[in-house]
Symmetry: C2
């Protein structure tokens, strides 16, 4: 019945489920201002400090767009900035304690959600699915 659906539709459907679950739970947990696009930052930010350009590159969006997202998170207390001692042009951003706890909570929420998928496919099958997905992404680099 759903056979006519394309792979694109399936991928989008799965991704949407994940994202909606995450942000519904974050909202309920008292983080209503965090939106999907802020996820780029929590995904890619580095303990040694990350710069706008670097984050934008990973997220594949412009520096300007990334800049706006980062400044919001800074305003809300999830990030703090520091001058880059080796390059006066750059600004380094770090997660605050609040940022780290949000990052951990997000990971836990997604981890728990994946366990639901796992129980649908069975552990071995889900493992296989994960591996195949990862292979497709890596080889596409």
């Amino acid at each position: 019945m759903d056979d006519f659906k394309s792979i694109g539709t399936h991928l989008k459907s799965l991704l949407d489920d994940l994202v909606i679950n995450l942000h519904t739970q974050l909202n309920n947990a008292g983080f209503p201002e965090i939106r999907p696009s802020h996820g780029y930052i929590f995904q890619y930010i580095n303990e040694e400090g990350s710069r706008i350009t670097e984050l934008a590159g990973h997220a594949k969006i412009t520096k300007q767009s990334m800049s706006a997202l980062v400044y919001q998170l800074e305003d809300w207390g999830y990030l703090k900035r520091a001058a880059d001692s080796r390059d006066k042009r750059g600004v380094l951003f770090f997660l605050t304690d609040k940022g780290i706890s949000l990052q951990n909570m997000s990971r836990q929420i997604n981890y728990d959600f994946e366990r639901q998928w796992e129980s649908r496919l069975g552990i071995a099958n889900y493992q296989k699915f994960r591996e195949n997905l990862q292979k497709l992404c890596i080889s596409l680099k």
Copy 2:
């Protein structure tokens, strides 16, 4: 090295590759005005005619958003409208010949792109991946 990446990142990466490929090729083939969100319509439209509300429901966007997309495709000659004889409130939309040929081209482009993924994973493995993906979507309904 990419191990830290979450499943969400992987899904998004794969989906982006597919969508970028499709729209790059459509662009080159002389359909520059078609954007990713128009895909909803080509994906879900019915031979017997589809209505705004019905399409919006499948795409999980509002009637207003779908309305705007449908009117664009109508302006560009991909869709034609007809009154619904059984319900004067409704409007039925159909693909024109131009719309059908775009739909066919899109399917072919995505089909060809999937063959690249298939050759990366091997046919049996890719088949398995496809099945698992589909299972996850169906059971989520």
